[in-house]
């Protein structure tokens, strides 16, 4: 049995770890590997049994255990959140030399720090001496980070610059032979300022992982001539429910009218009093609004649609300039409603406003969410105020839409108390029409989704939920089939 504890010497850390998991390309078969010891008592066939996936019969079901089992939560943390690419933040969260912010990869606290030369580093937020937390704030600016315990000191590139009373420490040769810099996140890459990290070094490049979904990042970054910025103000919330309930909700067209009836009533009443106040969701007739969905490899998906009241969008004011700069097709897409999941932990959501939402599972039945409003850098005061108000009203947990979703996640979790709740039926709308041939809207963006669907909002497609569930299943199956267990090496600062 492989050693689960750090090996001696060399600054390297050896974990019992399965090799690279199933990052499937379209049509690729996931290899079978033996399982890793120390995992919950489940094997690949147990995971397989939790998803009934028979598109030929129009059947897709997911067992409620996928949302409530703490054993499965452990596996997800190890093999999905701590075992592959996750979103960390935006490079504009640390714009200047020595700026940093902290976040998590699964259960691991990490630091993203910009060094004196402007290079970003992804670092493990634990002191190399005895493991104390090094960075304590959500963000800041610091040329050096001094550990509060014994005052070891690190620079903004993660290098160790001082060991307290090193020369009087009577260390043996072994200590001095090691590097004492902060451990690095083994893989740390950016796509146009969107920063991702992986604790597993054995993953494909970020661009390969994201695949065609990078177009949806382009559709956000290119909204302004100077890129995007975070609107100040971070909103956090937490709910007693599984993390997948949130990512499924954002893709769920079917829930919008019933769940958000009170929001729609309010905004329609305002528009009746004052036509200029018509919201993005002004009363819509069946037929005027379209909604579609696409699933991509590796669990990413996109819900999208047109026909909403684009005059209510902050971007509308600059529409002509926007068309000139990015072309008519991309401009149209920027004004579409788009909810895009970058599996497993980040969503770019745009309707009346634009949100970046990051989930952090805490247990099978608890999830923490961190949200930001993002906007074209330097947009006009008028557009910004509209954006901010619409953002607060729709996206905030203190607004008129999100709390109704989130309350239902808690209801779902509470209702799934025992095996009497087993196979829910809510994954099969749209199966009669979902296509393996890209729909026209996918083709106009040059996209080749695994499946895609388009229709009216009342189609309420649910095939969009299959992509993340299949990626979830395939990643865990591959992990639990793993036989050989290469080490996970964290290269420290000097070693690189």
């Amino acid at each position: 049995m492989a050693n689960r504890h750090p090996s001696e010497g060399g600054g390297a850390l050896t974990f019992n770890k399965r090799p690279g998991f199933a990052y499937a390309r379209k049509g690729q078969v996931v290899p079978d590997r033996g399982r890793t010891s120390g995992d919950p008592d489940m094997d690949a066939s147990d995971i397989e049994a939790l998803v009934i996936d028979r598109p030929e019969d129009g059947v897709f079901k997911v067992h409620a255990d996928v949302y409530r089992s703490e054993e499965i939560f452990e596996l997800e943390q190890k093999y999905i959140f701590e075992g592959g690419w996750v979103f960390l933040g935006l490079d504009c969260q640390a714009p200047e030399p020595h700026d940093f912010f902290t976040t998590y990869i699964g259960r691991q606290s990490v630091i993203v720090s910009r060094d004196k030369d402007g290079v970003l580093h992804g670092l493990i937020n634990a002191c190399r001496h005895r493991g104390a937390l090094v960075c304590h704030t959500a963000a800041g600016n610091a040329p050096t980070h001094v550990c509060p315990y014994h005052a070891w000191t690190y620079d903004s590139a993660g290098n160790n610059t001082a060991i307290t009373a090193h020369d009087r420490g009577a260390h043996g040769a072994g200590f001095d032979a090691e590097d004492h810099g902060l451990r690095r996140i083994p893989r740390f890459e950016s796509y146009r300022g969107f920063l991702f990290g992986s604790l597993d070094p054995d993953v494909p490049s970020l661009e390969a992982y994201l695949g065609e979904t990078t177009i949806f990042i382009d559709l956000v970054v290119d909204q302004g001539p100077d890129g995007l910025e975070l609107v100040p103000g971070t909103v956090h919330y937490t709910y007693r429910g599984n993390w997948k309930l949130q990512i499924e909700n954002s893709a769920d067209i079917y829930h919008f009218m019933p769940t958000h009836e009170t929001l729609l009533r309010i905004v329609n009443a305002r528009a009746a009093d004052d036509a200029a106040a018509a919201s993005a969701y002004r009363h819509r007739k069946e037929g005027s609004v379209t909604r579609g969905s696409m699933c991509f490899p590796n669990g990413h998906n996109a819900m999208f649609g047109g026909g909403d009241n684009i005059q209510a969008r902050p971007l509308y004011r600059e529409l002509d300039k926007l068309r000139e700069r990015v072309g008519a097709v991309r401009a149209k897409w920027m004004l579409y409603t788009r909810n895009v999941l970058f599996f497993p932990n980040m969503q770019l959501l745009e309707n009346a406003s634009l949100q970046i939402r990051v989930n952090r599972p805490v247990s099978a039945s608890r999830t923490d969410i961190v949200t930001h409003c993002i906007a074209p850098r330097g947009e006009s005061d008028e557009a910004r105020e509209l954006r901010v108000r619409q953002y607060e009203e729709f996206f905030n947990p203190s607004g008129l839409a999100t709390p109704d979703d989130t309350a239902i996640f808690e209801d779902i979790q509470a209702a799934a108390g025992a095996d009497a709740v087993d196979w829910n039926q809510g994954y099969m709308r749209g199966m009669g029409t979902a296509s393996r041939e890209p729909i026209a809207e996918a083709r106009e963006l040059g996209l080749n989704p695994v499946t895609s669907v388009t229709g009216s909002p009342s189609l309420g497609d649910e095939t969009i939920l299959h992509g993340p569930i299949r990626a979830w299943r395939d990643r865990l199956k591959a992990a639990l089939s793993s036989e050989d267990r290469p080490s996970l090496r964290y290269g420290s600062a000097a070693a690189e």
Binding site: G233, Y239, D368, E392, P397
Partner: protein, 166 residues
């Protein structure tokens, strides 16, 4: 009027507002506000810095008329908001009342408000802890609330936040 009387009236107003919220007497609660009230719950930018410009920064809630508060009351009364299907029982505890900038017709008030929230559906409880700043204005014999800024300290929100929890 002596400063002491003014203080007692202001404290009474704060306590009455708390009572109306706790007893779900929404119309009476709403009547304490002026029509052009600015109701503002900033978000946080850092551990000790809240957002300061509600026009270019995110707030948890920013409403600039009583009509916007009325919408929220309607939403709750409709019975169609899942977040409010079973309304919480609350007790708003007001303390640390401090009067600042008193004029003949206006007064600025600071206080702390801890709202104890019990959710009968989940049989769970939590609380909102806030430092409030209110701007009051004399309307006839009464004080009305013309601005209310609620700085929520525990902003990792448990699924939702709404006016009756503040």
């Amino acid at each position: 009027m002596t400063a002491g009387d003014g203080h007692a009236e202001v404290v009474a107003l704060l306590h009455r507002e708390a009572l109306f919220l706790d007893e779900q007497r929404w119309d009476e609660w709403l009547a304490l506000y002026t029509e052009d009230v600015e109701y503002w719950v900033p978000a946080w930018k850092g551990e000790h810095e809240a957002t300061a410009d509600p026009r270019r920064e995110i707030s948890l809630i920013y409403l600039n008329s009583r009509a916007r508060l009325e919408e929220r009351i309607g939403r709750i009364r409709s019975g169609r908001s899942a977040a409010n299907l079973v309304l919480a029982r609350t007790a708003h505890a007001i303390s640390n009342v401090l009067i600042e900038n008193e004029t003949a017709g206006t007064v600025d008030v600071r206080c702390v408000c801890i709202t104890h929230i019990y959710d009968p559906k989940r049989r769970s409880e939590f609380r909102t802890v806030a430092r409030n700043a209110l701007g009051l204005v004399r309307v006839g014999e009464e004080w009305r609330i013309r601005s209310k800024k609620v700085l929520v300290l525990n902003d990792n929100l448990r699924t939702k936040l709404d006016f009756y929890m503040l």
